[in-house]
Amino acid sequence: MIDPYNNKEGVADIVINNGVISQVIIKNKIKSLTRKFNSSNNIVEIDAKGFHVFPGLIDMHTHLREPGYEYKETISTGTLAAIKGGFTSVCCMANTNPVNDNPEVTYYILAKAKEEGSCDVYPIGAITKGLKGEELSEMVMLREAGCVAFSDDGMPVMNPLIMRRALEYSKAVGAPIISHCEDLCLSENGVMNEGKLSFYLGLKGIPKASEEIMVSRDVILSRHFKATIHIAHVSTKGSVEIIKRAKEEGVSVTAETCPHYFTLTEDAVSGYNTDAKVNPPLRTNEDKEAIIEALKEGIIDVIATDHAPHHIDEKKVPFNEALNGISGLETAFALSLRLVHENILTLKQLIEKLTVNPSKILKIGKDGIREGSESDLIVVDIKKEWIVDKNKFVSLGKNTPFDGWKLKGKVIFAFKGKKFFDLREE
């Protein structure tokens, strides 16, 4: 068991009683169960010898698409895909239809999640009404309804004055602002990273400057107006450098990246592969290396999926017309484990970025594997090799550039409250 919330590591017996962890017994070495139970029909004993137990992973950047785009994904399918990927909590972005910019939408999402969801769902409210970047949404009321953060993700808040106001106002809301950093003037109509390859493919590029200018702007606003900002999906070396400097200067900034930015480069779009079309775009090797280094140094706090499922018809079109996004929930953890298998991160460091760090940023009060807490944990065979098959995705979004990849690490059981998932394949 590795539990970064309580800073506990070791071989353990964990007793879960009716959805609540009733006992955690840490032992020095693997022995049979310390406590023996009377065999009764209501007790299931799982021998997890050789496997790892972690607190349930948190994805702080998910698109569940409901309401409005149920043909891409639903709360039901998205949360089950999350469980399959080891995520017992997801934070769903506000770019639904209608946009999650009023409490009714938040209530709807939470009610649906309660009814049909497999994991915890934490809605993220819109910073501005309709994601238009013009008027602030009613953040306090959204917070009260259950939103844990605010973001116009998918769209940047272009007007720096509106972003200033949002940051200032968020201090009274008690929930962070998550910024999708993109200068739309610079990225206009771009479909991939700008550079040699975009010229070669004849595709319009998105310069790195488009992201970095906004990261700079947002940390400057955060510094001057003493507010907390979280930078979503960092994709460039330049952004890493800006965030590093801001952190050194004491700015209240945190950052996330996604598996595709530390696994792939722009080369993945060669051949006009629309499954590798994502925003921000896949960048160059230099950026990928910088992001890996930033994860190692702790400059990037969180790994999030930016799970962005789309219907096949939205990807089976010429590259320019394809929608941005990767269906990431079911591959994110195994892709992240590559960093551990390659000795770049320790297992504990990785799990922190997928559990305690997002929990702290979002203040959602997860407390790990401890007695008295609701069961929220996963059992993982980190050495299990498997081949990604998009057709086996639970998610309705089959849009992955990792189809056919051989990955190592599979979630075999998940416990979420009274729910128990056996994810072993027959």
């Binding site: 550079g195 040699k196 010229f199 070669y200 493919l201 004849g202 595709l203 319009k204 051949g271 006009y272 018809d313 089976k316 079109v317 010429p318 590259f319 320019n320 017309e321």
Partner: protein, 306 residues
Amino acid sequence: MKDLVGIKELSRESIEEILNTAKAFKEVLGRDIKKVPTLRGKTAINLFFEPSTRTRTSFELAEKRLSLDVLNFSISMSSVVKGETLYDTLKTIEAYNVDYIVIRHSSSGAAKFVAENTNASVINAGDGTNEHPTQALLDAFSILEVKGRLDGLKISIVGDIIHSRVARSNLYLLSNFDTEIRFVGPPTLLPEDAQANVKIFYDLREGLKDADVVMLLRIQFERQNAAFIPSLKEYFHVWGVKKEIFSYLKDDAIIMHPGPMNRGVEISTEVADSSRSIILKQVTNGIATRMAVIYLLKPKGGIVDL
């Protein structure tokens, strides 16, 4: 080879094969009866999602001279306005059992997309800012006709390189030969970083010094609105090719333009009408080159059975 999606996919050998075949067809076009029965009974469709008169006409003429049955499917009568996807349009056309599809589309990679989804032979007649392979082939054919060789030539391409599929296809074609390639124009319209074998010039005189071939590109009027250039007038002043520039070129240098040209923007009237201009020769050679391409492609065959 089933398709001609881009020059990128071609080897020097296949380029030379096309150019040699074009030579034979050019001879046919010089006869009194300009039609050959080669592809009688086969069907070609010109699928144009972007307006084009000259490229479509050139293809249509090439197809007719090969005795193909020709259908024109253009934007005005297309289903795009009705919301049909390219895939569905393609499947509909495939159900007609056509053998050749000539496609022009505003999206880069569209020709490849079409080629991958049909058994017909697909010829890219321009996809977004990606490639316009038959233009590069006819340009190469025209240069060969005048110069007798491609190897050893200095070729300057002037103008809006970043938005030009013609520039790209020419770059990829000429890179197969021992050529010196230069991109010349305002920094806003040149790639910051192209291929290693390309030299970049902002100064027209430097960029054209000792050139054997000058290829001009059309400057789109809308570029001045998007701040690529301050005005067409300034463009002509700085990068427009005027007669004075001739003294910098090789004595036997030629001027080329894929058309349609803007006199007084990228080219002066004196240059366009000068003896160095081979612009009209390019137009004629376009037919022979396109005949050669269609002739050499092999559709997968197989009737679509519904």
